[in-house]
Point group: C2
Chain length 352, copies 2
């Protein structure tokens, strides 16, 4: 039952070579004879040798553990699960492994898991900071030369790259789209005003409304829970207004679907008398739903993007310029009624 691990020295002995030779084989060095290489490999297989990265890192200069730390604030939210999947994809195919931890929005836990990850010698870190995280918390990491990239939530002040969603730009795009369809009274539905994301999306809505000369009015901002039920509620209040809106930008997909539910109950096909666009936070992923135009913030894509950015920094040695990448996309999942249109705008922005 091999309570004793087999080491390079064991396989060297068994293959009748020196341990250096074995080491060279391990690293695929071209300095080793083909016949000896195959022989050594065979012995490794036979003895069930497993490479010990811990030992390797110890010797190696720079401690390249090929471990990527991923810290998210709420893995229960499928947005972050998708994000982790995206990260995992590129991380795996680059031959790295992923440490994943969930902070549940606890800043203490965040500190703990990051400390733990450091002790394990992570090569880089991708983090969606818990609420209230200070930029200074990442000072030691970057000082130690460990690349860090922030996702979803930025860390203003910390000199690190981030991948954020362009909430404001997305909202503008969405409102413009509704305007080109002829809508004038466009509401903003769902969400609570105490989050950064809400403010950004609302700001985009407001700016677009003003730029288009449609004007901004508090009356058209209909707050509600950012859930399906909230959407039903919000659309109900919208329809009850004296001068009722004909379209709405919804805070997220749950609200949008709720709005559609509400419209359907009123025997209005979605998009017929009332057009709905929602930010797609993939809260309702996988649900079979009716046609809906969405502003997609692709979490998996964000994860991939973040991982790519991180790997680039890891490979490039240390000093990489701070980069901010943002992305949104206006998509029609299925066209229907007034939603039919030439929409599939992709927008990517980079700032140095």
């Amino acid at each position: 039952m091999s309570d004793k691990r087999v080491t390079v020295i064991d396989i060297a002995k068994a293959a009748g070579v020196s341990k250096s030779t074995v080491s060279l084989v391990l690293q695929g060095s071209p300095l080793v004879n083909e016949s000896t290489r195959t022989k050594v490999s065979a012995v490794m297989r036979d003895l069930g040798y497993v490479y010990n990265r811990g030992a390797a890192n110890l010797r190696q200069t720079g401690s390249k553990t090929r471990i990527i730390g991923v810290v998210v604030n709420d893995l229960t939210n499928s947005f972050f699960a998708e994000l982790a999947v995206g990260v995992d994809m590129v991380v795996q195919s680059a031959g790295f492994v992923q440490f994943l931890s969930n902070t549940s929005e606890s800043i203490d836990r965040q500190r703990e898991v990051i400390a733990s990850m450091r002790e394990h010698g992570i090569s880089g870190l991708i983090v969606s900071p818990a609420r209230g995280t200070a930029a200074a918390d990442f000072k030691p990491l970057v000082a130690a030369g460990i690349p860090v990239v922030a996702v979803v939530r930025g860390l203003p002040g910390a000199r690190i790259s981030s991948v954020l969603s362009a909430n404001m730009e997305g909202a503008i795009e969405a409102v413009r789209h509704l305007a080109t369809l002829g809508h004038k009274r466009i509401a903003f539905m769902g969400g609570f005003a105490n989050t950064e994301v809400f403010r950004e999306r609302l700001a985009g809505y407001r700016q677009a409304m003003e730029d288009l000369g449609l004007g901004f009015s508090e009356d058209l901002v209909i707050a509600s829970a950012p859930s399906r039920a909230g959407g039903v509620d919000a659309v109900g209040r919208a329809m009850a207004m004296p001068d009722r809106p004909t379209a709405a930008l919804c805070f997220n997909d749950a609200v949008a679907f709720g709005a559609c539910d509400g419209l359907r109950a009123r025997r209005l096909e979605p998009g017929e008398d009332f057009a709905v666009i929602g930010f797609d936070d993939v809260i309702e992923a996988g649900t079979a739903v009716p046609a809906l135009t969405t502003v997609a913030v692709d979490p998996q894509g964000m994860g991939r993007r973040a991982a790519q950015l991180l790997l680039k920094q890891i490979n490039a040695g240390k000093p990489e310029p701070e980069t901010i990448v943002t992305a949104v996309r206006l998509v029609v999942r299925e066209s229907c009624g007034a939603h039919r249109g030439p929409v599939d705008v992709e927008q990517m922005r980079k700032k140095a």
Copy 2:
């Protein structure tokens, strides 16, 4: 910019002690004087020392890396995301860290990530095996004395512990519950017959129906996509039957919610003329939905359970008896109509 890492020897020098003393402090040994301990700790903080677990594991006997590998077949599915959260909870509070990888049902990827995890010296592995995984694939792991526990899908033949959901027992429980409410014609709705899970749940349904003397008929098994849309469809077909059923056990929560949607569209309050119970696979987690009785397979709970099992094995040295834990729970999220009832049955089973 500390391009040079600080080591025990540095802090020993700075604190005027030997490195062993520092090591003892690190391990919280009681053999060290309180005054020196505080002094050493202070120096560690000042110099920004970070513990190097890699080096420690190398020296330590038994290679206790305190890394737990977690491999799931589909992290995109929120069931598994929840599972990972559950694992992470107990893993974190036990001072371990979690390697998480997604196989996307690819058996090759699974092999790769597990190999990679072994090289990193994981202390244990929790795996939801990709479809087609052979029990033999885990032979080397267990031979090396690394505890493995399977979740969600078992690995018959491999001598490892598992945490599975009691699909059959849950179905029986659910049908019994409907029967106590007076229902006689109870349908089984949703899902496709080609999965193990479907077979288990259907088997439970069948057995309960027969045991209760209600009889089993293929007519009452209404297959459909395991989605919300599938539920709408299925309930439609059920209502169109000549001798229509008055209740249904649904394959999962999505189907159940779809069924409720369908009933609502027909102006039937759920539970009024037609009672619905669904297996809760948390596909529709977070959605605000109407009252529904569900058979809950709590993924987070399964994760926690699996992690506990694993940690027990890790702490207990090696030879732990193979354990199979299964759990389901019948719950009412919110009572409504005919669903009102004394239901909150928990059922746990262990087999040695």
